[in-house]
Point group: C2
Chain length 625, copies 2
Amino acid sequence: MSVENTPTVSLGPDSGLDQVFELAQQLRVDSVRASTAVGSGHPTSSLSAADLMAVLMTRQLRYDWQNPKNPANDHLIFSKGHASPLLYAMFLAAGAIDEEELMTTYRRDGARLQGHPTPVLPWVDAATGSLGQGIAYGVGIALAGRDLEHQSYRVWVLCGDSEMTEGSVWEALDKAGRHRLANFVAIIDVNRLGQRGPTELGWDTGAYARRAEAFGCRALVVDGHDLAAVEQALAAADDGQAPTVIVAKTVKGQGVFEVADAEGWHGKALPDDLAARAITELGGVRHLTVRGPQPPAVTPSAPAAPVEVTLPHFEVGETIATRVAFGKALAAIGARPDIVALDAEVGNSTHAEDFGKAHPERYFQMYIAEQQMIAGAVGMAARGYRPYATTFAAFLTRAHDFIRMAAVSQISMSLCGTHCGVEIGADGPSQMGLEDLAMMRAVHGSTVLYPSDATSAAALTAAMAYLDGISYLRTTRGAYPVLYASDETFPVGGSKTLRASDSDKVTLIGAGVTLHECLAAADRLAAENIPVRVVDLYSVKPLDLDMLARAAQETGALVVVEDHHPEGGMGEAVLSALAAQRLAPAVVHLAVRNLPGSGTPSELLDNAGISRTHIIRTAQDLAAR
Amino acid sequence: MSVENTPTVSLGPDSGLDQVFELAQQLRVDSVRASTAVGSGHPTSSLSAADLMAVLMTRQLRYDWQNPKNPANDHLIFSKGHASPLLYAMFLAAGAIDEEELMTTYRRDGARLQGHPTPVLPWVDAATGSLGQGIAYGVGIALAGRDLEHQSYRVWVLCGDSEMTEGSVWEALDKAGRHRLANFVAIIDVNRLGQRGPTELGWDTGAYARRAEAFGCRALVVDGHDLAAVEQALAAADDGQAPTVIVAKTVKGQGVFEVADAEGWHGKALPDDLAARAITELGGVRHLTVRGPQPPAVTPSAPAAPVEVTLPHFEVGETIATRVAFGKALAAIGARPDIVALDAEVGNSTHAEDFGKAHPERYFQMYIAEQQMIAGAVGMAARGYRPYATTFAAFLTRAHDFIRMAAVSQISMSLCGTHCGVEIGADGPSQMGLEDLAMMRAVHGSTVLYPSDATSAAALTAAMAYLDGISYLRTTRGAYPVLYASDETFPVGGSKTLRASDSDKVTLIGAGVTLHECLAAADRLAAENIPVRVVDLYSVKPLDLDMLARAAQETGALVVVEDHHPEGGMGEAVLSALAAQRLAPAVVHLAVRNLPGSGTPSELLDNAGISRTHIIRTAQDLAAR
């Protein structure tokens, strides 16, 4: 498989298109070699886009491969992440990785050259492989580059044609169009064949172009194997006028006769013998290197001066919703210049708009497009900002796949889901977040916070800005009394014990509205001479193991009450933590087991079996055991 | 608030537009009255669309209000579900509900007139309120009507303008266009104002029209308050030629001077005094009734004859992937004429395409559009079909909000997620379903199944067709030995104990690949004279409580091993079930706590701490306790 026939030659912006063709062939050969060596991967999806990428990296991509952190570097995102052999072959041509790494580690255990690219590689901004996402991250980065960093870099996104059926693609292009992101270029590799056969639109490049234009982008249709045409289109895209979608008609498996435009070759490495023939057909192994256009020199900006953040103050006993406290705290921490906030057209309900009023230049209205809201946050986080993205807890489920992938990207960002649980009342179940704790707990490396009062909500809102990974704040619609003075601290992984005595017979554990129900129940139980402990579980993940151990040992019985479906929420978090410590108190779990309707908050809490009435009855039973 | 000024008059298709105007005013008045009476709701969002709906229900909507199950009825879906006052006012005008119900129960506890419509109401096909969904359900129903039921009904969807930024809307219109659904009409109520201010596109009706056309639909732009224009557009939409999007320019709060086109009135009932003035301005309370066009008479079809389903047979010991068995079983149960299957362009990997080959007329290729795949399934389920929707487990997260809402709709449908866990190997984390059990367990009323061999996979695939609610089958990429003979039964809520003795010191609980790891571990432990029990937990929700109780009592220690993140999966399901029974064995939970990369399945299982090596070590520790 190593038919070497070309000496090492270095290509630059001035190299002729004949040389660029040689580079394209090298990218093809290396895509075939790397995938055949490991026996898996997507060579044919790489071959279709090789010409596009060869022109891009020699002519347009301004990139300092030795310094991927250079803030003036362009960005290249493979939205079709399965074409990783091509991307990694580009890294090799750029001298960023060496041949041995590509040929012996691709897709292997412990390697950074994974099946789909992730930011474990310093030249990768965000993990892709769930289709329709890379283009959305690209919009986030382009927004950050123009409106936050004020850098002149461009964002180039390589899309597959199959992924254009994902709605998220149109959320992304809508935002590219609305914001007139002239620094954004999507290149659609229209190779006509998806995983299982022809794509929905086949080679109807006009249909792609009409859609892109209708969404406010400029569309350029080209033959993706005509190097001169590609060169011209890429140059035209760089005129600073408009976001551009280059619709490139290509052939899947281009350059290899036996697989070109053939079904049945998606996601399959070529067998050794076919790979050998393919490499020969492609002209053999080459060792071209590329030094493409370089980014402009930038003066490093002075490190931002430390900023004093003054959190809002709330009086103990005053009634205020945690979502209101979140909004005020978010506006306050906006004093930190790296904080940005994104809204999905509900900022007046979530109170994220408080940030928008205080820091309009760092507030991004994404309208009702939760996937793009999260993707925008990921893109900005990839550029060093600390995003807060907020919508109703129920509607964060819309972006579940983006949140999952952000964890793969090891992005640090803060999410806030408001209007959780049946507590919201009359609007009914469509607006109730009853699955969000399960969703957010299962995200790798996540932190899940659930304050019960304004003071803790403000403190935790601020704390999230310093946490690694994805942190989630769950807030409540209604107003409840402030429980804590402003000087109280709320370490992540802690809890607050609000009622305790040496003779407690039961521990009531709540958060949000259910903590207030637990407190009311405790008062009533105290009047019945049943002393109970009450714990504010504001940190659901991680969870306060010491508190749990004490409560289990000292009271022997726990009641966990949550405004969430029974699965995956606070109750199961507590059970997991107890099991890990080999503790076995009696645990009764009150959660929303019914399908709620409309009603007042107290009616709905009662219907769901999580109101003070049910807590009292449960505690009485446990105390009598 | 009851300024009565009109006697009861009945309107029909031949009534003049002056009468239709009176009806529109009545719908407005009743929207105001109902929301003011309860003090919440969205009257201004109802007022903008009242003229559209008054024309529709008198002129075009062929509906037998006394028989909502009439298979020839048209379908009306409020994608802007928050305009429920308008929908319910239409129900009142149609005589489907009475005035007392609307004025005294709307949004109240226990009422069927919830804040957002749900199918608790017999005239509602699917719950809405999460925006961008109703239009997608409408496409599913239109597909069912034309291609499955062969009925001539039309599907009318009322959309808000704000929701047009949801990507799911474009997935829906793409499918409407691709399938040339001439029985589908979306009406966009372009009232320019969203919840927090102006929408992204304002009154740029041309932009909406260009987008709809680019996605293959016919667009008609009208003044949504010009009854004659609306009448003409609705009639034009009914020419059987193409899917139609009517872009109607309207005014939010139309008809009430004090709130018309004004910001700050979204989602707010008018105060009593303003409501009184509004009703006067609107001409007072009316009691018009409507008898609109009636559906054509249809001969009831004979009930389908019972069908014999012969499931595929697998030999014990043969190695075969559960996804392969799923595909074969799905094709087999396709003998039932109500079974339909939907794919998201991965049918060759998930093996759903086996169904497509056997029953092409009931196989729907939705391409890579998971939200529309689920919405299509919901629409078909609403029409009495039993859909199976399949993609990679990881990519079902894309449709989380649709699955959540399907549960609110109390839809019965079957989902299959393939390629779960780190077991998939080299493709890496973007393709690994590691959160799907948490997501699917937390869905209200769901069933979660996770077979470990081909026989059980086939049996459970068939069993799902008889389950109420949303059922989920989790399948594995790799091939593993068949464990069960064809005559074995797998009741939902059961389990299989594969190794057991009176002296078992530990119970190993697995499913999918981890069951095979548990079996290997058990063999090794047996050789070390550590007898362990092994349980196949094929039914994760509901879970086999009796088995757990026996295992807890007889072995005292459980090891739960799952190829899923630790939160919300099998481990926590087991802990919940134990806690509910007040059982407290030692429980060790092995799950994927790392961020995986690429590698071979066995390397990745080992890295994650869920391989036989880790199970053996854990069991040894527990046995020595």
